[in-house]
Symmetry: C2
Subunit: 330 residues, 2 copies
C-alpha cells in the first residue's frame, strides 16, 4: 500500500497561479529540453471519429526533476451541445526513480493553460524588445487572456490591443484584460493596425489561413505564435520567415511538423533541414536571442511534454508543502 | 464538478477474477479488433536510462464499448533492490462519447495480468485440441500460474507440467498450480519431454533465445507463446513456423514487430508480407481455427490496448453495480 495524492482542479487552482515562479519552472524545463538531456517521445494520438473526438498523450523525462508527468488530453468537439467542455484531461505524476504513481492531477486542462501561457512569458522575456509599450493579442479565447497576463509579467506594457473575428468576443476579452492588468485595453478592429502599434504580438487562434501578413512586420517587433499545434494550422504568413532576424521554435523537430515552420517549409521559404536554436537554447545563451531592439523575432510554440512534467512536479511540490489535496492508499 | 470513480488494486481484486466472464469480455474485444473497427494507435514508449526504467502507454477505442482505457505501464528494473515491484501501472477509463474521465483504476498491473491470461484462454478455446489431458507451462512467474488457470477454464486438463530454468521456482509454481487447480502438477526437468507429453503448451518467459525447438512439435499440439512483447525476445524456434497448420497472432501488425513472427520473418521462414487471420478472426469464424485434432497450432500474444479497454470497462461496470470504490468530485 502506498499513498497517492489526488489533486482536483479546485485544489490546483488554489496552488498554481500564472506568476513568475511558474514561468521560472517552465523556463527551466526548456533549458533542459534544449540541452538534449530530456527524453520526449512523439505524441500518442488517437481519433474517435464516431464521437467527433480525439485524445493525445504527451510525456517527457527531464533529468533533475524528481518526477515525470504523463498528460492525457481528450478533445470531444460535440461536447458543447451537451453542455460540456470540449477539452479536458488530466496528468499523472510518476517518480522518475521508481516509476510509481505519486499523484493524479485532475486539472481539466488548467495546468496546460498555465504552462502554455508560461512558455509565452519565457519567449517574451528572452525575445521581446526591452521596452514594450503596447502588446497586441490576436485571438479572444482563454489563451488570449492568459498569454497577455503572462507577457505582462516580464514586459509590463501600458496598453493592450485585442483583435478577433468575433467583435463581441474581442470586446469581452479586452474588458477582461483591462480589469486583470489594470491598464488601457481596447479592441483594434484592424489587425494590421494592431501589429503596427505593438512591440509584442501574441497570436492565439486556431487559424488555418494566416492572420498576420508578412508586410505587417516591422523593426522592433516580437511575435509569439502559439495557435498552431497541428499540421494544417497556420497563423503567420510564410513570407514573414524571410523577414525574421530570429526564428525560435519551442521544439524544432515538432515545429517542422506542427508549427508555423511547417507552413514555411511547405511554401519553400525555409529549407526542411534548416537548423534553429530552440527556446531553451536562447534561455541559456543570450547571443542566440534578440541582439538589437530593431530586430524582428518570432517564437513558435507547439507545446511540449517537458512543460507538463515541469508544471506537474511544481504543483505536487506545492501541494505537499501545504498539505493540499486528498491522499488515498492504493 | 463531476464524479470520478477511484478503484484501488484491492477494490479491483475484489471485483474482477480470472473467470469465464472475464474471458468472454476479452474475447469480445478481440472480435472487434479483427473486424477492423477498433482504433489502436502504436504504443507510446519512453526509456529512462538513468533509472533503468521504461514506461509504455497503450490505448484502444472499441466501437460498442462505452469507454476507452489508457493504460500506463512503468517498468523500473532496479526497484527490487529497493523492495519495490519492477512493474506497476494504472488505467484511466474515459467516456467514449464525451472524453471525460470516468474512473481511475490503480491496479498496479493486476488488470493487465488478468486480461493477458484471459487472452490465453481465448486462444486455447479456439485453437487447442478438444481433448487436452496434459498442459505444459514453460516459465514460472505470475503469468505461468495465470495462464495455466485460464487455460484450465476452457480445457479442464487433468495434469500440468512446469519447466523453468530455476528448479526451485519451477517446484513452487507446480505446487501452487496443484493447489489452485486441484489436479496433478509436477516439474518436468526436460522441456522436450514436457512438450512431448502435452497437448497444450504455454510459454511465458522473457527468453531471447528460443526455448521450444521446432522438432519438438507434434501432431495435436497447440502452443500459446505470450512472452515476446519486444523486438529481441523469442520463445519458439523460427523453424517451427514451417511445421504449423495455423499461426494466429493477436494483432498481425504488432506481431511482425514484437512477436514470434518477428523472429520467423528475420530468419526468412515467413515472408514479411505474409497474411494471417488474427485471434479475433478465428473467434468469429471457426474455419480459420483448428480444423483437426492432429493439427499443430501456435497463438502469438503480444498484448493489445483493446484488451485493456475491455477489462477496464468491465471492472468499472462491476464496481458501479456493486457500489465499490471511492468517488471523488473533480
Amino acid at each position: 500500500m502506498r499513498d497517492i495524492l489526488i489533486l482536483t482542479e479546485a485544489d490546483l487552482r488554489g496552488l498554481v497561479s500564472l506568476d513568475l515562479e511558474a514561468v521560472d519552472v517552465v523556463e527551466r524545463a526548456f533549458g533542459a529540453l534544449a540541452s538534449g538531456r530530456v527524453v520526449m517521445p512523439p505524441i500518442l494520438s488517437m481519433e474517435l471519429a464516431d464521437a467527433h473526438g480525439e485524445v493525445d498523450v504527451k510525456t517527457a523525462y527531464i533529468p533533475g526533476f524528481a518526477g515525470f508527468a504523463i498528460k492525457v488530453s481528450p478533445g470531444f468537439f460535440d461536447n458543447p451541445r451537451l453542455g460540456l467542455p470540449s477539452l479536458n484531461g488530466l496528468m499523472i505524476l510518476f517518480s522518475a526513480k521508481t516509476g510509481l504513481v505519486e499523484a493524479l492531477l485532475l486539472d481539466n486542462g488548467y495546468l496546460t493553460d498555465v504552462r502554455t501561457a508560461a512558455a509565452g512569458a519565457v519567449a517574451a522575456r528572452h525575445l521581446a524588445p526591452a521596452g514594450v509599450r503596447t502588446a497586441g493579442i490576436i485571438g479572444t479565447g482563454v489563451q488570449a487572456r492568459l498569454q497577455a497576463e503572462a507577457a505582462h509579467l516580464v514586459r509590463p506594457f501600458q496598453e493592450v490591443l485585442v483583435w478577433g473575428r468575433d467583435a463581441a468576443k474581442a470586446a469581452q476579452c479586452a474588458a477582461d484584460l483591462g480589469d486583470a492588468l489594470g491598464i488601457s485595453a481596447r479592441v483594434e478592429a484592424d489587425p494590421a493596425a494592431l501589429v503596427a502599434a505593438s512591440q509584442l504580438v501574441v497570436t492565439t487562434t486556431p487559424a488555418r489561413e494566416p492572420v498576420v501578413r508578412a508586410d505587417w512586420l516591422h523593426p522592433g517587433l516580437h511575435i509569439t505564435a502559439m495557435g498552431s499545434d497541428q499540421a494544417g494550422k497556420q497563423e503567420i504568413d510564410s513570407g514573414a520567415f524571410a523577414r525574421l532576424d530570429r526564428y525560435v521554435p519551442d521544439r524544432l523537430s515538432q515545429c517542422r511538423l506542427l508549427g508555423e515552420l511547417r507552413g514555411a517549409i511547405a511554401a519553400g521559404v525555409v529549407s526542411a533541414g534548416a537548423e534553429f536554436a530552440e527556446l531553451g537554447g536562447v534561455v541559456g545563451d543570450r547571443a542566440l536571442g534578440r541582439s538589437g531592439d530593431d530586430q524582428i523575432t518570432l517564437a513558435d510554440l507547439t507545446g511540449t511534454g517537458a512543460q507538463d512534467t515541469a508544471i506537474a512536479t511544481f504543483a505536487v511540490d506545492l501541494a505537499r508543502r501545504r498539505g493540499a489535496g486528498t491522499v488515498i492508499q492504493a
